[in-house]
């Protein structure tokens, strides 16, 4: 039985990667944001998870509109990354965990989820920024990663309730995997923000706080929202709540909140950070 040690919800915006590269963590703009990562890094260093199941969305590096998966899961031995066109520094490749990937894929399809399976895929900042910031100086190289992508770009995209249920099925799969490995689940992206249109720059940190409350106590309440609701209430890219819901869905029972931070603005977003442990 693999052991699920906890969930970290984190932003994944490119500006964080650049701040790390440029050593800006202690500058006034960034210091409050990065202070939140200290307990996260300590938790990871103490618990030493073997595997990270990482929910992210591809922003047009590998999953173009020509063949765009609604849900996708990596089943590769290694995941490369790239500069994405606007110059984010590539980082050393992530190491995969194919045995657990296939175990999850088999379980998902048996349980009526039909994701796209990716045996070769480049991951973008949605995956690399969380790895860089949680394991500084590329110290993630002993962690095996399973990237799981949810379409957050083109409507229709999975309903929040569906992303939650998808995560629930992945959690069941991890728990049924015959192994002693320790697994941490990462829900990335969000929280409220809107990049596009005359409404760009819109944030809703009251809603973000409520979401972080509900992720602890009543995640199913968040499943009542539609993606149109989230667009209206949390901005067009507020739909990235999907990855936090999927990550939370991996935990079947109650959780306790150990750390939380909400910092805005970080680039054009409200950046959430949350550590939840099985209660």
């Amino acid at each position: 039985m693999a052991k699920m040690i906890g969930m970290i919800g984190t932003s994944h915006i490119p500006a964080i990667g650049r701040a790390v590269d440029q050593g800006l963590e202690n500058t006034p703009y960034w210091v409050d944001f990065f202070a939140g990562y200290k307990p996260m890094r300590e938790f990871l260093q103490a618990q030493k998870p073997d595997i990270a199941v990482l929910f992210y969305n591809d922003h047009g590096l590998s999953m173009f509109l020509d063949k765009k998966p609604t849900f996708a899961i990596g089943a590769a031995a290694q995941y490369e990354n790239a500069d994405e066109g606007w110059g984010i520094n590539p980082i050393p490749a992530l190491t995969g965990e194919t045995e657990l990937s296939w175990h999850i894929i088999n379980h998902l399809i048996e349980n009526d989820f039909d994701p796209t399976v990716c045996q070769e895929i480049k991951v973008d900042h949605g995956a690399t920024v969380p790895m860089s910031v949680l394991w500084p100086n590329h110290s993630y190289q002993r962690i095996k990663v399973i990237p799981v992508a949810i379409n957050c770009e083109r409507h229709p995209m999975p309903k929040p309730s569906r992303s939650y249920a998808f995560g629930k099925a992945i959690g069941d799969a991890i728990r049924s995997w015959n192994s002693e490995e320790k697994v941490v689940v990462l829900g990335t992206g969000g929280l409220s923000h809107q990049l596009d249109g005359e409404r760009a720059g819109y944030l809703n940190t009251d809603f973000d706080r409520m979401c972080m409350d509900q992720l602890v106590t009543d995640p199913e309440a968040l499943c009542q929202y539609t993606n149109d609701d989230l667009t209206r209430i949390a901005g067009a890219q507020g739909v990235e709540l999907a990855m936090w819901l999927a990550a939370r869905g991996c935990f079947s029972g109650p959780v306790k909140e150990v750390e939380r931070r909400l910092v805005a603005p970080i680039s054009n977003t409200a950046a959430g950070l949350q550590l939840l442990l099985p209660a």
Partner: protein, 119 residues
């Protein structure tokens, strides 16, 4: 009944928009690669033609008119790559779309500040 209205200043990127903007987004997708970026900068109009952008989209690319690109099927994910080619970041882009300077757009973001006692 669920409220499916789209807020003002928001361009829902759905099937119809993805159809309208396919060639535009396909062009911007090539900016993932240095070769695509260089070819575009060498002759922007010719590069637009190569990908079959319509006249409205092509003119908007040449004029850096991001709102018109959004209205004509541009996905912000690929328009961000276009901005990258131009050396603009997402705050610059926010300023352009909201008719403000980058500093004014940043000030709007800062007016929503939480959790930053030091910044």
């Amino acid at each position: 009944m669920a409220d499916s209205s789209t807020p003002h200043g928001t361009y829902k990127f759905d099937g119809a928009m993805a159809t309208l903007g396919y060639n535009l987004n396909r062009m911007c997708f090539t900016f993932n690669e240095a070769a695509g970026r260089e070819a575009f900068l060498q002759d922007e109009a010719a590069y637009c033609d190569k990908f079959g952008l319509n006249e409205v989209q092509k003119e908007a690319i040449l004029k850096r008119d991001i709102i018109t690109l959004l209205r004509n099927g541009g996905s912000i994910y690929y328009l961000a790559k276009f901005a990258g080619v131009l050396g603009l970041n997402v705050q610059d882009l926010g300023g352009i779309m909201t008719g403000q300077t980058t500093a004014e757009f940043q000030a709007y973001l800062d007016s929503q500040k939480v959790g930053k006692p030091n910044g």
